[in-house]
């Protein structure tokens, strides 16, 4: 029984221990070699022997470059009842420099715990000569076939055109090319590019690396850098089927060669693009680089309204013509401008673009008159002397002698006028004028005179009323009026006599005449020829007082006498006064 017990214990232990061994967790790092040359590669594998690990974190390969990986593999086997499991992560790495390095541990999570691998020490020695098989046909071919990208200028300005020519050099003494296939086209990011067609692969002789080679031009491209900085030209790759002689001859003495396929590539090329200088950069510069000519021309400058003319804005020359923004023209109101027609006539060759681009505008004047299209300028960066240049066109004046007259601001109606064919459509200058001195000409408004004249009539109203009132009062005074009237009459008739005062003869004639004239006017009787008695009768008939009649006749008599008697000035004056008095008296009574 004791024996049985013991056996069972051993059995149990055995089974148990076996189980224990199978269950032991290990996570380790292994390398393909611990010592290598700096041009060799190394494989490192991190493996765990238990299922269920998660969250693998690779170590930091500081002095190594990861070429490939991680490659993950899982291996599960069951041999003779024994179960094995392996999960691994493999990296291919290459050392960056020489020395002894320690690759740190990687980590993984298992069952909630983080487990680490061991660290690995690696010794990197100098570059090791990788043995080459000189008889390997691919190797021979690669030594004798080269693809070269020739860049005309590796540090151009932005906008300056450069060219890339791809040439395939073949040393025909050693290999022959059977077939080629372009497997990777170059790409030009940051460049405007245009291929120049290569029609036929024309083999030419040329020297390469000091040896005579035969070459063909595979591709030609014109590039115009669009941005500054280091721009990459991605490589071009060509798959070449090359015939490599194996060194034996066939029955007929011809060389036997073996075909091999391999890829030639140009490798990545860089172009360092310079920025255009900032100083003296014109405001209207829009990126034109090269050598240009600029011109604005009109198809005609003399036309009728509603007829069309073409205006051409043209840039010609050499440079990045396809990338130029042509300046636009501006036209006055009445000159309608339509969207331009853009035309190009450009030749592309290795030295760049050459030709001309132009915008052709159609303009239609709507009214009679003159229209001025202002000058337009075009700026470019001249590669010849590395300076900015600006060309300004002349202004174009279009003369439209016939057509509608423009609307005038005043009434907004179209004034129809006869068509004048002289071409002069503005009115002529004025030929006479009146000049006045410039300066502080006193304004009438606000002047004292203005205020005075404005107020004066208002003040004159009371004055006028006062005068009017007085006049009325006088008009109402009948006697006074009669007297004033008679005085006025007497003065009127005697005025002639008064002038003759002092000259005896003339005075009395005038006086007598005046008296007669008075009667004539008053009585409508011609009295000069009738006797004094008759006059007295007529006057009496008119109810004139006797005494006044007597006075009147006395004056007439005096006139007669005085002519023949000596008189003095005093007497004449007296006579004058008498007659004046008599006339007023008679007048009052008539």
């Amino acid at each position: 029984m004791k024996m049985i017990m013991r056996f069972t214990t051993i059995l149990f232990l055995a089974i148990f221990s076996q189980n224990l061994i199978a269950q032991e967790l290990s996570f380790k790092a292994t390398v393909s070699k611990n010592s290598l040359g700096s041009n060799e590669r190394l494989r490192i594998t991190f493996s765990i022997n238990k299922q269920g690990a998660d969250d693998f974190t690779p170590p930091n390969f500081k002095k190594f470059k990861v070429l490939a990986g991680p490659m993950q593999s899982t291996n599960f086997s069951y041999v003779n009842g024994k179960q094995t499991f392996e999960q691994s992560y493999t990296y291919t790495i290459q050392p960056i420099k020489k020395g002894v390095f320690t690759i740190p541990s990687a980590t993984i999570k298992f069952d909630g715990n983080t487990i680490k691998t061991n660290t690995v020490k690696v010794t990197v020695t100098g570059a090791v000569e990788i043995p080459k098989d000189p008889n390997d046909p691919t190797y021979i071919a690669s030594q004798n076939i080269h693809l070269i990208a020739e860049i005309s200028n590796s540090s151009p300005y932005v906008g300056e055109s450069i060219s890339v020519v791809y040439k395939l050099y073949v040393d025909v003494n050693n290999v022959s090319v059977r077939d080629t296939r372009e497997i990777e086209s170059p790409s030009f990011n940051g460049f405007w590019n245009q291929n120049i067609d290569v029609n036929k692969w024309q083999p030419k002789m040329g020297e390469f690396q000091g040896k005579e080679h035969r070459y063909v031009t595979v591709r030609k491209t014109v590039l115009i850098p669009q941005k500054t900085g280091k721009l990459i030209i991605e490589p071009m790759a060509i798959e070449v089927v090359a015939g490599v002689p194996v060194g034996r001859r066939d029955l007929f003495g011809n060389m036997i060669s073996r075909n091999t396929t391999f890829t030639v590539t140009t490798g990545t090329r860089f172009v360092n693009v310079k920025a255009l200088p900032v100083e003296n950069k014109p405001v209207n510069f829009s990126g034109a680089v090269g050598d240009f000519d600029f011109d604005v021309t009109a198809s005609k400058t003399e036309l009728k309204a509603n007829e069309s003319a073409q205006i051409k804005v043209e840039v010609s020359g050499k440079g990045n013509l396809k990338l130029i923004d042509l300046p636009t023209i501006e036209t006055p109101n009445g000159l309608e401008r339509y969207e331009p027609e853009h035309k190009e006539n450009i030749l592309t060759n290795l030295s760049g673009l050459r030709g001309k681009v132009y915008d052709q505008y159609t303009v239609v004047p709507q009214y009679r008159g003159k229209y001025k299209i202002p000058p337009v300028s075009f700026s470019y960066f001249s590669l010849k002397n590395r300076k900015y240049k600006t060309i300004t066109s002349d202004a174009i004046v279009m003369n439209v002698p016939q057509g509608k007259t423009p609307l005038t601001d005043e009434n907004n109606t179209i004034v129809k006028r006869d068509v004048i064919s002289t071409g002069i459509n503005i009115r002529y200058i004025s030929n006479s004028t009146h000049f006045e001195p410039i300066g502080e000409k006193e304004d009438f408004l606000n002047s004292n005179l203005f205020y005075a004249l404005l107020i004066l009539p208002l003040f004159s109203i009371p004055l006028g009323i006062f005068i009017g009132k007085q006049k009325q009062a006088r008009d109402n005074d009948v006697v006074g009026n009669k007297r004033r009237k008679a005085d006025r009459l007497a003065r009127k008739y005697l005025s002639q006599a008064k002038k003759q005062l002092g000259k005896k003869e003339e005075f009395y004639i005038a006086l007598e005449k005046a008296l007669h004239n008075y009667l004539k006017a008053k009585l409508q009787v011609e009295t000069s020829d009738i006797s004094k008695d008759k006059i007295a009768d007529i006057l009496k008939h008119k109810n004139v007082d006797e005494s006044i009649i007597a006075d009147f006749l006395k004056v007439l008599d005096d006139c007669d006498y005085a002519r023949y008697t000596p008189t003095s000035n005093v007497m004449m004056q007296q006579e004058y006064d008498n007659s004046k008095e008599v006339i007023s008296k008679i007048d009052k009574q008539l």
């Binding site: 503005i426 200058i429 107020i455």
Partner: protein, 251 residues
């Protein structure tokens, strides 16, 4: 001795003749007639500098500029003609031609009834003309009032009363117009853009952003000025700052 005197008199009179603006004007007009614009312009300028003015002179100068395709000066002088004599029909007519050469197309703000009235009536005449007519109406009023006062028949009285009231109204209107016109004339300052193209900025500094751009010949209203900058307003109501060297004020 006699000869010398004669020569002195002749030279003196001829020099007088040469300096008289009227004879210069005639001379320049003759040059214009034979299309010697440059020479004519030189003489017109000489007259302009001799401290005299006339709307005809400015009008002729504007025509010369028009003939020689100089947009801004042409418009400047037409406007100046109209400033001096707002009723110069020839200048108005030719200005509408010269304006064809302006690039800017500014849609003028629609005018209110009041603005239309003020343009077609109040600004049709100079404020002095309004002042003279106010004085005229004042006299007319005094006469009509006296006639009213002294007339006896009721028909006459009614007529004179009404017409005198009417002339009082006219006095008030013409005086108001005169002052309205006067204030506008004194405060309104305009200028013509002389630069081929000019940026109008949002503030009077070079660094400020461009609000809009104007071209040669466009008329702007001046609002204020500051350190070589002028605040301007254009016909559609836009406001901005322009460099004073780009414009020439009408005055």
């Amino acid at each position: 001795m006699k000869n010398i005197l004669l020569i002195i008199i002749l030279t003196f009179s001829s020099s007088l003749l040469a300096q008289s603006p009227d004879s210069l004007f005639v001379q320049a007009n003759k040059l214009y007639q034979i299309e010697k614009y440059e020479e004519a312009l030189a003489i017109y300028k000489e007259i302009e500098n001799s401290n005299v003015q006339s709307d005809d002179l400015y009008y002729n100068m504007a025509n010369v500029y028009y003939k020689t395709d100089q947009v801004a000066p042409s418009i400047y002088y037409y406007e100046k003609t109209l400033l001096l004599n707002p009723r110069n029909e020839d200048a108005k007519h030719n200005l509408s031609f010269a304006k064809r050469m302006i690039i800017d197309n500014i849609e003028a703000l629609p005018k209110t009834l009041g603005q239309k009235f003020s343009k077609s009536v109040i600004h049709k005449f100079n404020y002095n003309t309004w002042a003279y007519s106010a004085v005229g109406f004042s006299f007319l009023f005094a006469i009509l009032f006296l006639l009213y006062h002294f007339s006896y028949s009721s028909v006459n009285k009614r007529f004179y009363f009404l017409s005198s009231i009417l002339s009082v109204i006219f006095i008030i209107i013409t005086v108001l117009f005169a002052y309205n016109n006067y204030n506008h004339t004194k405060s309104y300052r305009a200028a013509i853009i002389f630069a081929q193209q000019s940026d109008v900025k949002s503030a009077p500094t070079n660094a400020s952003e461009i609000s809009f751009e104007l071209h040669e010949g466009t008329k702007v209203e001046l609002l204020e000025s500051l350190d070589g900058w002028n605040k301007i307003k254009i016909a559609d109501g836009k406001i901005g700052w322009i460099e004073s060297s780009d414009i020439k004020e009408l005055k």
